[in-house]
Subunit: 99 residues, 2 copies
């Protein structure tokens, strides 16, 4: 459990995974969409997600160089779980203890 | 998404939620079961989980005083999602990038 949370927990990773979704996105698009994240933190988070096998980074031998990010099969498998987590959270009872 | 991760993310909360599960547990049982957590951190985490409506703390008017923790209905709704997250994580491909 701790391992799973370590892989997808934290402030940015779930949002990045959600934002990439089933698409291919560029660094600039991510930096623009996830607007409060710094480029430095975005670089680090993408690197960690890549190391954990959740994101695939593809560099194209073109000029100017083109780099795209997409979710791996394993990363795609996380989307429905994150979706459920969002639904669970939006069904949250008001702050006073629920019965 | 960030809100959901804020509520259940982090190192201890998922383990505490899992450990409580569908049972009623005492502070001492939790401190014993989740062995690397300090009593101070356990107290703080339980308080946050209570404020977020995930855990219900029940104090019984007895001598010596008895306090029990259980998951609220909302908290119980999280168990299957955490279960899926564990399964997802155990299906993780080896470190080399998955296709």
């Amino acid at each position: 459990m701790t391992r799973a949370m370590g892989v997808v927990g934290g402030k940015w990773k779930p949002i990045l995974i959600f934002t990439i979704g089933a698409k291919r996105v560029r660094f600039g698009q991510l930096a623009h969409t996830v607007n409060l994240i710094s480029r430095k933190v975005l670089t680090e988070q993408l690197k960690e997600l890549e190391e954990d096998g959740i994101v695939i980074r593809e560099a194209f031998a073109e000029l100017p160089p083109r780099v795209e990010y997409r979710l791996s099969a394993h990363g795609l498998g996380l989307l429905p779980i994150l979706e459920q987590l969002c639904q669970w959270n939006s069904a949250r009872p008001p702050a006073v203890g629920a019965p």
